[in-house]
Symmetry: C2
Amino acid sequence: MLLAAAYVSDARYNRNILFETSPQSIRLYRLYNHQVMEAVTYFFILVDLALALFEDPAVYLLPVWATCAVELVCLLIFTIRLVHFAKVTPRNKFWKDMKNICVILTLLLTLFDIILYWTLIATGYYIIRWSRVMRPLFVVNFTESRQIRRAFRNIRNTLPEVANVFFLFMFSMVMFSLMGLKIFSKRHFETAEGTSYFNNYLDVFFDLYVLVTAANSPDVMMPAYNASGWYAIFFIVYIIINTYVFMSIFLAVVYNNYKKHLTNEVMKLVLLKRCKMIEAFKLLSVKKGTEFVVKEAQWTQLVKLVAPDISNSHRELLLKVSQEEQEKYIGKDSFIRLADLLNIKVITMKTRIHPIETWMPKLYNSYVSQAIQKMVKHRWFVYVFDIIIVINAIFIGLDDENSMISNAEWIFLSLYILEILLKLYVYEPKTFFARNQFWNWFDTWIIIAALLATTINAVLKSSGGYTSQQVLDFVLILRVLRLVRIVDSFQRFRVIMNTVINIGPTMLVFAGLIVVVYYVFAIIGMELFKGKIKFLGTNSTDPAADFCGNPKLINSAFAMSKYCKNNFNDIVSSFIILLELTVVNQWHACLLLANGFVAVTHPSARIFFCIFHIVVVILIINIFIAFILEAFLVEY
Amino acid sequence: MLLAAAYVSDARYNRNILFETSPQSIRLYRLYNHQVMEAVTYFFILVDLALALFEDPAVYLLPVWATCAVELVCLLIFTIRLVHFAKVTPRNKFWKDMKNICVILTLLLTLFDIILYWTLIATGYYIIRWSRVMRPLFVVNFTESRQIRRAFRNIRNTLPEVANVFFLFMFSMVMFSLMGLKIFSKRHFETAEGTSYFNNYLDVFFDLYVLVTAANSPDVMMPAYNASGWYAIFFIVYIIINTYVFMSIFLAVVYNNYKKHLTNEVMKLVLLKRCKMIEAFKLLSVKKGTEFVVKEAQWTQLVKLVAPDISNSHRELLLKVSQEEQEKYIGKDSFIRLADLLNIKVITMKTRIHPIETWMPKLYNSYVSQAIQKMVKHRWFVYVFDIIIVINAIFIGLDDENSMISNAEWIFLSLYILEILLKLYVYEPKTFFARNQFWNWFDTWIIIAALLATTINAVLKSSGGYTSQQVLDFVLILRVLRLVRIVDSFQRFRVIMNTVINIGPTMLVFAGLIVVVYYVFAIIGMELFKGKIKFLGTNSTDPAADFCGNPKLINSAFAMSKYCKNNFNDIVSSFIILLELTVVNQWHACLLLANGFVAVTHPSARIFFCIFHIVVVILIINIFIAFILEAFLVEY
Ligand code: NA
């Protein structure tokens, strides 16, 4: 029975782990999959990643022994988790799984790195803590992160095809550069800045590469175009082929592969789920007549084990769906469907009786109360509040120094609270706050937060005349967010918003992916560039503030644009600068950023920025778009 | 019989025209669909569009009476075509068709415009020839341009959904601008240039709109980010929502609609084709036993009428496919398939005998000749020529002033000619130059052109020592294009290239669409901005050359970047500046361009540039990407 429950549970959550079938192993396996154990693992992965906040270069510097100690604790937890897994799974399967090998290697290398670091420190040397780059491997390789791993597998599968297109693209670039060089170099044109134009192969190549992102259009064309209109043809053909056709093909290939592999993965999952359910069925079934069936009692016990949190009525509903014609048995096909049935969220559609009606039926059904209910359910009730929202928007736009307007805020707040209270009076609270009622939750939280923040603000103001700007900002954001509700009043917008809300959770997988990639680049970036560029504050009187504390940046465009805070001096700054590099359209600014770091280190630093560009912009952003396209096609 | 032929022909070419069924009408209808008639219509549409080259502001100015005369001729031709169509189609259908109404209105308005223009000229007034904007309507509305019309229909169908997302997007923009203004304006930050930051609602809105195209990132964020890292959250959330999510949703909605409507259109076409074929079958069929059939003689006569250009053997093949079991009749289902069968290009797969073998069998089958054939068919033959291409590429990259290298060009050229001759010796010429042998055609044309150009160049050089730079450029481009052939040697690249080549023809429909849109904007742009910005040549000694001949541009960024040639002074320049505006990523440059025109006219000129941006970038470019995505999914 326990084994059957384990199979059903695996099928339900799409787990794919082989485990031994001895009773002890099964109990261990249930423990392994317990929510608390998973939460602990996730927590320590987060702690391990968060260590970057406290290690040099740090947001808040802790002594090295402290971070190392915490890291050792994390390693210990990971080892325990791994040993637990090794106990559950058959030995030969364990050593064949790349995930486990990868985790063991990472653990050993990290340990080795820590020991090496302290040994060298003791003998007076300094060494980089290079194993920090490997931390995201824990995120990817622990069995808990199935979805991120799937996303990575997707990228790996897409790589060969993208590489082919990339080679073709590079070939096209080389050809065009060759033509450009040969045609323009001997004509000795000059750029607007008076420098020579298309004179050196690498420069031409780089200029044309930048033209793909269209960042130097039309500047790169102007010298030739000014000389003769015919030269424009060269650039027009180039832009059509390399900017539009090739960039679309990149997206098409990524989308194509994404779709193909997604279908494969889904097929595999369905098959696996079926296999597990058949195994479970085999364990529980008894022969009845010519076919095998599962007895109702057995079935109920199983469901209680697998899903202890569902209500009796829900379980009875499932039973009714699974049973055929009043019989006390469940057939094979119905049994196999159980894994999917358990995942369906049952929304109680029966009209519950309002609690007030239960307590005070006379009052609730009185004439006035009926009128209120009719009013709230009327569509004009929605319209009136839409109008109030619009008026509120105008008031927010107006000058808030005026006391009349800041007092109006109280009126709006009370109107919104009144609205929620009225709705709660009319609609049954449990139905109103059902899981799928996104907007009701949204409204209520926003209003409660706004009420709290506005009160705090008023108290602060009246008590000392002092108002915290942060509280005011918070109130403002809440006020503006409140306006978002108006979108829900239009059917056409609601469809789009619901699609976005539905694909939201899967988007989080993407966020995980991005964090993993960013983390690796951030750690490398910090080791390469830490402390080279310093931000000394906006109002610093230190003359070094004008050149980011590095004399090599005196009079550089980087310092003049006040980019000093774009640095790799801690993990938060690193993430922000990587985001800026991702939003790559303005290559110009990217170049400016990259050039700043090249100036303070070495020209080869460009390689770091180039690799980041190719990985993130060509691959990950395209996969993101492919993902949205597919999700929209399915959901919309 | 004629009527049946007309039905089959319509089904074959996917025409959807109702015509009267009297014998005279059918003959008229056949004439109407004759290739020459269609070619004449296309030619005059082109002439009408090309008039913009010769009208003020002109590339080559012709007197107004000349262009007006040509336009009247065009109008006459269009009227004849329309009257012809009216004779063919039933009267009530003719007046119900929006296309015809549209053409008639355009004709009348153009005529009215011309008369008005001359009347006012005679009385001493001047008026704009406003009807020129309507010329692209002829392209769209004449029945010959089915595909462009379908593309426009597609856009029109996509509009409502895109508009919904656009409203949501604008709503999000308004909300963020409001928040940005309220949070940052009272903090009095300064930009790197020392101007005030986020101080005025419209400026904030515009800055954030530009941030969607990521053109002013990270500059727009820096003042706030320098003050506190927390402000970065505002911009990060903004970029994620508006740049990535909304822009992807735009693409997703366009792609979604494109796919949906494409399926609808294809379904409709298939249904219509079937109806026509059934009509034709009804006309020709006779009863035989319990079912209706078409006699073989009738069928042959029909095919001869519909497709007079196909060979006897091809027709016999079609007959064999259509006939069931040796009978002399064709059944209904086989008959309906005929429309599709006629469109299949039959590639003669039988190994033809080489003409030399026919003439001189002894020589062709001799030992030496056999050896040559074996060598050419060997895969090392391909490898050797790939290596030659690589060496050739290196030589092109080297300095071509060196006489040794320019002489090497002759060697390469002879090697390539030798390759083609050898292949022609080995493979049967008709097979070698079959329609689907893209690369053979490509190679041969390139080599012939290169041979001609190199010879002309050599003759010019030896005769007068004078070498035309244009000829040299042409030779160079041909040389570089020759290198493209190497792509075909790799299977993986060949697949991608073939996909691109296959979707090429349909891409031309897109080119047509873009030309129509550009033409309208170019005509309007010319009327608005002609002569405001002048390009006086690169080496002009006129001081006005420094400010594009307009004092309002003195010291402007527009003039300093030497953008003077980016103007609307003739239709060619207009098309080039519109292309530059399409490649919008570098919004910076776009702004620079737009600001130049705003400076010389009026701030409301911005509206022109904004509308162009929304139409072309959000709608047409996304449809282009959707089209490539879909084409790739089908072809790849
Ligand atoms: Na850009």
